[in-house]
Symmetry: C2
Subunit: 111 residues, 2 copies
């Protein structure tokens, strides 16, 4: 595998994409960028997501240090999720991509 400059660049981006790729990662991150949220509130707001996918996605994002899980020792259980400092650093890149996405959506209508 020849690691030329352009390929290193794309590798970095591919790794980044892998972390936040999947059916539900972006909706979750987007929602969390507006503030901490409880599990069931998140489930209601990320339309159509199931327990298993919400749990899996949150675990993966937590594993990569983008999301933090805050558990309160109460009965009934009370768990909140939020972005870590590292997670918040993702937002500007996502916003930049969203700006392109809007242009792209407009552009595709003209094809």
């Amino acid at each position: 595998m020849n690691m030329t400059n352009w390929y290193d660049g794309s590798c970095d981006v591919i790794n980044a994409f892998t972390i936040i790729s999947g059916r539900w990662k972006l909706p979750i991150l987007w929602r969390l960028s507006f503030g901490k949220t409880r599990y069931n509130e998140l489930k209601r707001q990320v339309c159509g997501i199931t327990n298993i996918m919400l749990t899996r996605s949150l675990q993966e994002l937590e594993h990569h240090g983008l999301v933090e899980r805050i558990q309160y020792s109460e009965i009934p259980p009370h768990v909140e999720y939020g972005l870590t400092e590292q997670g918040k650093k993702l937002i500007p890149g996502l916003t930049a991509l969203r700006d392109w996405a809007k242009e792209q959506a407009e552009f595709e209508r003209t094809l």
Copy 2:
């Protein structure tokens, strides 16, 4: 489906991601961002890609208006691929994400 503001935002980004997602799209786009390239040169430079995946990826990117195919009427065949103006607009977003990706890679080593 309740289309709140945060969800519209994530939908745009999801659509953008879908277009450029997959095993080979980013390496191809990255390479093309450095200039027009012939089919077989692209194949050599995007390490490990097969004919079928290169062809498929290029067709999909062309279909979304990001890549242009320039065919010269010669024998043997001569085809070049390059980014369209719309395709070039993608680069800044990708670069922004790459900057985060580098931070993220560094960060994950500390976990």
